[in-house]
Symmetry: C2
Subunit: 297 residues, 2 copies
Amino acid sequence: MNGSDFHIRKLVIVGVGLIGGSLALALKRAGSVGQVVGVGRSRANLDKAIEAGAIDAVAGNVRDAAQDADLVVLATPVNTINEYLEELACVAEEGAVITDVGSVKEDIMHAARRALGKNYSRFVPGHPVAGREKSGIDAATGELFRNHKVVLTPESETDASALSRIRAMWETTGASIVLMDRREHDAVLSLTSHLPHILAYVMMDCLAGADNAERCYEMTAGGFYDFTRTASSDPEMWRDISMMNRERLLLDIGRYQARLEEIAAMIRNGEEDRLEKVFADAREARSYVTERRIPAS
Amino acid sequence: MNGSDFHIRKLVIVGVGLIGGSLALALKRAGSVGQVVGVGRSRANLDKAIEAGAIDAVAGNVRDAAQDADLVVLATPVNTINEYLEELACVAEEGAVITDVGSVKEDIMHAARRALGKNYSRFVPGHPVAGREKSGIDAATGELFRNHKVVLTPESETDASALSRIRAMWETTGASIVLMDRREHDAVLSLTSHLPHILAYVMMDCLAGADNAERCYEMTAGGFYDFTRTASSDPEMWRDISMMNRERLLLDIGRYQARLEEIAAMIRNGEEDRLEKVFADAREARSYVTERRIPAS
């Protein structure tokens, strides 16, 4: 199956925010979906999603929504996925494919295995790496995933046709698929996403707590603005991600602290050559990132 | 005097790179300058500056260039400003105004006082806060300073008409002027610019040194890209800034380390509420920065 002949009769989106809403919009525009049913805590938000053309109908709970569904996407905050998974045990039994979009995979996959039991094979763990500092249905766009990566972390028992459907779904949105082991995913995301978020939050925290904070606010320029962009991300979401990927994140924070201390020592001791070498190597690494970068939508 | 009736008969730019070149281009376009003479180590670079229309002529050394000059702008790397200042002692004697664009003010002002002696009053210390990760004349543009801030840090003995000329010069480029004490400048820049540069370099350093570096490079997304933008800055320049503002920078690195450790402890100890509060407050501080931000050119 490839993206072009991919079709979902009935799709359920649980959590119609930035990610869930953008996915629905992309699939609708591609003509790859019949009916989209939204489930969420806020009725006002779901009404906006209907108005935006992301969903066709609203259901009061996941069980009702998932009746006869082909595919259920869990796009709620990571700490609520567990409860939804328990409600979905019977839906998986009836043959629907279930996937998620959580930024941490190991914790969620343990929960899914517990909740779904023998139907765990119908669960395809996923993570579209396409966050924004904005959130909610108002920020949703059918272009969000174009030229972005979606990581899928199937296990040996994951049903091959279920995996193939989820792969096709994401390819339809313009994303490219990367397959990884769940532990590898969580380690890579800790270093490339979770750590930078923490560091940016700490930077803003330091500035806000400084004696000369007002002057500092006044003088922030483009570099500072970009550096702290991730500090505008949703605090609840990042609290949960920090907790769920705690072990790896603490490891990376520790490595960062050690390296920062080494570099502070170079500054303290006037080791100019070593310092310049660190900066030059870092710049080279960044240009490697820049060159490989596909401009995102 | 205001920007509109400001005119320089003969301007000398020492160091025709991103900042020096952009300043010359802006003044030329505004019709606010007669002749611009460039001085620099690289003849090829100066030829490019002539071709770009930034300068009209090239001089072999600062003394020759500064003959009959109204205004001399030192736009070389911060660690070379000292030697040029010594060459300029006699030029200041003849009435020219001298200014610089260095990112650290206290060190440079001490050097200027030593070099210029009783003519120190003709030196107006300046810092256009408009860096880019790109450098060199190729990146220069007459729009670089529009809607950016230029900090001037005059002392009690600074000549009022000299200060007024430098203020008018920068206003002509579209920048707005902020007057500060030199110590305040160095403290504010340490926290809003020097520290984020160091932190971004350390982030790239950690990623490059990781076991899973290749996978990490592949998975970096927009947040990481923005977070590390300042790590593409010139290593030699940032080595010198780190050294010249060493005391304040080490103080800020220390405060950052302490706060990072506190936040790591919250993650370690599962203090979810405190962690969310830190993130929420940091986001609020960032939105304060965002709201006050004038989009730069």
